[in-house]
Symmetry: C2
Subunit: 246 residues, 2 copies
DNA sequence: CGCAGTTTTGATGGACCTCAAAGACCGTGG
DNA sequence: CCACGGTCTTTGAGGTCCATCAAAACTGCG
């Protein structure tokens, strides 16, 4: 695999410094992490890790988007994780990867060899604490996703996905959560289908239907304009009033 | 809610002592936990926690089976967690319950008030470590479950559920993983449907079909005899050879 | 026995999948 | 510049799996 190793930043400059697994580390601990980290980069479409691979490192996504997915023998594929900047890859104490990890845009990750990282986990409790927090957040996300997969209609699934991406984008930009929003879908139709438990044809059809109904507009294939986020939210099947619960 | 408070055991006698969140605690730490714990019991069918409830405690399931579930406005329900003895309820740092928790058999839990527990989490790293381990295990289970919900057929879903229950039972009893096995389903048809993202009619039909095909036999409605676990496994759509990966 | 809850079975329809082909987009090279 | 191929996307036609609606059978219990 043609991974380029680059060394382009200090931890203190790192864009995910305050959100990744290292968020709570300061001073000496951060220096230690800095001394053992290394970078890897992958190009869009490249497989980063294959299910069954031996894992000798853990990593944080710095830039780009990657997916975690499982495939059945006959080829049916289900995405089980969407990895965005600051998300963590790997599990302390495990050395065989259970899922396939794919870069869907150009991706750069910050790696630590597993052994030293596990030692750090014992000596530096704030890393474990942060990891616990992140794992529990992912568990919540997985449970929302289970409701989507098990009970939502195709239209609700697509609406939910667009809403999730829109919410995340507006969150980052600290915009108002309603009014006109435009987002760039970081996924192909096929990747969306794998996320939603649908076929890519159904995804395409439902996007066309939402467009015809004026819920969304398209600019090219990837850019979506949402005239009114509230209206889109009504299509997701979720509580409209249900704000964050914590 | 008619919860009976009982005080029936020492931690050292506790059946989940070595698997729950307290597994790594010894001596003084265990004494401290013992001094602040209290029990609650629920009868089969009873709601333990409602989504949106204020949570002032966390807990470990000692006996019985409970479910975690989400319901949409129009009543569609998806189970997102199955809580067995040693499983943990609640999340440190969160005080509003995001899911509905239901006792599906008589259930006893060991509780800690949230505040003291959170303090312990800071002073006693082994609790946090164990909690991290448990959260990561649940995340893996959730991801398997996502594959089931998103991509498996009704027949594969039912087979998977029976296989999951059978595996867990044989694990506990340390039996051979093949040959004849019999298990008691701890769930009603409706609960199975909520687990699998199906209707209860489909669950019933698929169970009948598996029975007609000789994959399983029934004794009453709840007890299932599996003449050959391997044969059942082939119906799940999973890799037959894929052993545990870690 | 009668009743309520659970499960099974049947009939029908619809949402989504499958198979197929055409259209849009993009970079490459003549 | 435009033709060309490759990838991604859209659209169409038909079929299937599962949901829905309905009723009957079974179970446990007062």
């Amino acid at each position: 695999m043609n991974q380029s190793l680059i060394e382009y930043k200090e931890c203190s400059d790192c864009p995910i410094r305050h959100r990744a697994v290292c968020a709570r580390c300061e001073g000496e601990e951060l220096d230690h992490l800095e001394s053992i980290k290394y970078y890897r980069s992958y190009t869009a479409g490249q497989s980063m890790i294959w299910a069954g691979d031996r894992m000798d490192f853990v990593a944080s996504v710095i830039e780009g988007v990657a997916t975690l997915s499982q495939t059945m023998e006959d080829g049916r594929t289900q995405m089980v994780g969407l990895l965005l900047p600051s998300d963590f890859i790997g599990r302390p104490g495990r050395d065989i990867a259970p899922y396939h990890v794919t870069a869907i845009s150009d991706v750069t990750v910050c790696c630590f060899r597993k052994k030293p990282f596990e030692e750090l986990l014992v000596t530096t409790p704030q890393i474990g604490q942060r990891l616990l927090e992140m794992a529990l957040d992912e568990l919540d996300a997985a449970r929302e996703w289970m409701l989507l997969l098990g009970r939502k209609t195709a239209r609700e699934k697509i609406s939910s996905l667009i809403a999730i991406i829109a919410r995340r984008d507006t969150e980052l930009k600290a915009l108002l959560p309603s009014g006109e929003v435009s987002v760039v879908l970081p996924l192909t139709r096929e990747a969306m289908a794998d996320y939603l438990g649908l076929t890519l044809e159904t995804v395409s059809r439902q996007i066309s239907a939402l467009k015809k109904d004026g819920i969304i507009q398209l600019e090219g294939k990837r850019k979506v304009i949402i005239p009114d986020l509230e209206t889109l939210m009504e299509e997701t099947g979720d509580d409209t009033d249900g704000g964050p619960l914590y």
